[in-house]
Chain length 377, copies 2
């Protein structure tokens, strides 16, 4: 049974030598270009910024978390209020994860079975269960444009036997998700698991591709494995997936991860790094990261990044940002977030332009050289 | 010696029966109309909002705190970086207080003498001294448009003898401030003290008027006295001051205080109430205050105030604001602050229009009636 959704993936430029490509994805809430970076709005808000500002940074699609919204304020409430887009005032595309990852990383996990998982809320310890069908129901209620299958995310290192059984479970869950989701306006992505084992990734990918999804995600990465291994798994797994569907690398998103993974054929990214780092006072610049509370910025009149066109960089000095951060002013978190998100959007834009011009290698070279100068840290 | 400053106070409409009037004050950073409400930007930032947003709420002048900026990041740093306007990115008028009130209310006060006060920082316990000359030097370094004299703010209740001596000290300090401030671009306001004693207020006012200031403030109110006493002191004191200078009621600013005090002849107000309440989840509306975390708003799709034109009210529901607040999302504090500031600006605008139309009594009647309906609490 072919899934009929509104999601349309158009390849604008076929893969280059390294696997990089350009695309465009159309959803019921508008289209976005790929490669794309999705800021994370965990609780129905990309922390510290308004929907308007988010748009101004260049964000075209955001991610929101099923686990958090299920617990608070509840998906049924959001549904009653017209869905997540309306609730949070973001009229662009939204991708929701399945809640699986958060159950493993945030909640107290009680039990995994064929049915799903039983866990305790990180908010109040209350007991809940989540399985493929519930994950679909919740995401359907939220009304996201892209729905993720419910999966088991295995941490690293993990024994082959365990990962093998886990891939089988995730495969059966994916099938149940596909059967259960009943909303043509929502696209459904499968999640390839298999840890760092190539043959298990292959089994996972084959099973999912056999079922047929609107896109494929790489899950279970950035969970403890080293960088080289991660890049190897990405490279191998992308090649197991169909050319005509978007590839989404879940939760992996340091600037260098983007730069490398785009070259391995990844189309979509999400990561809390720009927003979380902003709130911790770590700012991304063309020349590497800076820690804004550092004493060296006490009277530094320059913007965070002289090449950046964001509201923060065009209006405020490092000295002021340092003061706001040390004084714990709420404006600090917001100005930092605006800058970091804009940095990511400009990076993605730079990558797209480089791919278009066939100059990805040159772009990467400059990217690393600029950081190597490391003037700021 | 007449003080020559750029400050110009134009009376646009002479006092009505109750004492209300309309004016306009011109400063080196632009003009603003009176009655005016000044949002408080304690540490060089009106908490949770950007300068752009502040402007959009209708704010025309803001207040910033000498005590806080002196301690962090330091007035000399701000001076080196081009002054407070440039540092914080607000190009409109700024009034700075003298630091006196914060020394009494926030710091550990060690000693008051003829010289000034010795106190311990609330940040790190370090020892500092502040007197009339230092207060002028700091405000000169900050570069505010309106500078306040250094005074002693006496709490309530206070014995006549104590207040009498305090008024004498504040008078001598005012004279020293007037002598010391040496920046024609900055206007200097005297502060009338005297607690709730009419004759001491009179002595204080006479002394200051004799010295001659660009404006006169009523200090030492909202420090514990009851509402009736406060209004009595305001009414009496305004009449002791010259017609051709602005009258500023310091730190008093519940909506009903504004409504009443405008009718007693006050031209300028400041108060942390709109911003602080916003961060505590208390929102002002035409029909009274609402506590946004209240369960009754769980699925309330209406804006906070159907009559409000602010970004918050035109984009988000009470249900969403309640969710953000309960989830401690940073966006909550900002959206709440935008609304509360806009409420204050609309209130002041309404008062100005009412004065212009000779309809202040009718305005007050409607103001109290709307709140009496109290639909929301």
């Amino acid at each position: 049974m072919k899934r009929e959704t509104f999601l349309e993936f158009r390849i604008l430029q076929k893969r280059g030598i390294a696997g990089e490509r350009l695309g465009e994805i159309e959803t019921p809430h508008g289209k976005f270009r790929t490669p794309v970076f999705m800021p994370v709005g965990t609780q129905g808000s990309v922390k510290a910024v308004s929907p308007d500002e988010l748009r101004q940074t260049g964000a075209e699609i955001i991610l929101s978390n099923t686990y958090h919204l299920y617990l608070r304020p509840g998906h049924k409430l959001i549904e009653r209020l017209g869905g997540l887009h309306r609730f949070m005032g973001w009229d662009g595309p939204i991708l929701t994860d399945s809640g699986g990852f958060q159950v493993y990383s945030l909640a107290k996990l009680r039990n995994i079975s064929e049915e799903g998982v039983v866990f305790q809320s990180h908010l109040d310890g209350s007991r809940h269960s989540l399985g493929p069908e519930q994950a679909m129901d919740i995401q359907q209620a939220l009304g996201s444009d892209i729905v993720m299958c419910f999966d088991e995310c295995v941490s690293y290192p993990a024994e082959y036997k365990y990962v093998e059984r886990s891939v089988q479970l995730t495969s059966r869950w994916a099938e149940r998700c596909r059967k259960h989701l009943n909303s043509p306006a929502q696209a459904l992505f499968g999640i390839v698991q298999g840890g760092t084992y190539r043959d298990l990734r292959e089994k996972s990918a084959q099973y999912l591709v056999g079922l047929g999804f609107d896109g494929y995600a790489l899950g279970g990465l950035a969970v403890g494995e080293d960088r080289e291994t991660r890049l190897r798994v990405i490279r191998e797994t992308v090649q197991m997936l169909p050319e005509d569907k978007p590839v989404y690398l879940m939760g992996v998103g340091a600037p260098e991860d983007l730069v490398e993974s785009v070259g391995l054929g990844v189309d979509m990214f999400d990561c809390v790094m720009p927003t979380r780092n902003a709130r911790n006072g770590t700012l991304f610049t063309t020349r590497g990261r800076i820690t804004i509370k550092n004493a060296r910025y006490v009277d530094d009149e320059r913007p965070v990044d002289g090449q950046c066109d964001c509201y923060t960089c065009t209006h405020f000095s490092r000295a002021y940002l340092r003061h706001l951060f040390l004084a714990r002013e709420l404006l600090a978190y917001r100005l930092n977030t605006i800058h970091n998100l804009r940095y990511y959007m400009r990076l993605i834009l730079g990558l797209r332009n480089a791919i278009e011009d066939g100059g990805l290698d040159a772009f990467k070279k400059t990217f690393y050289e600029m950081r190597a100068e490391n003037e700021l840290e």
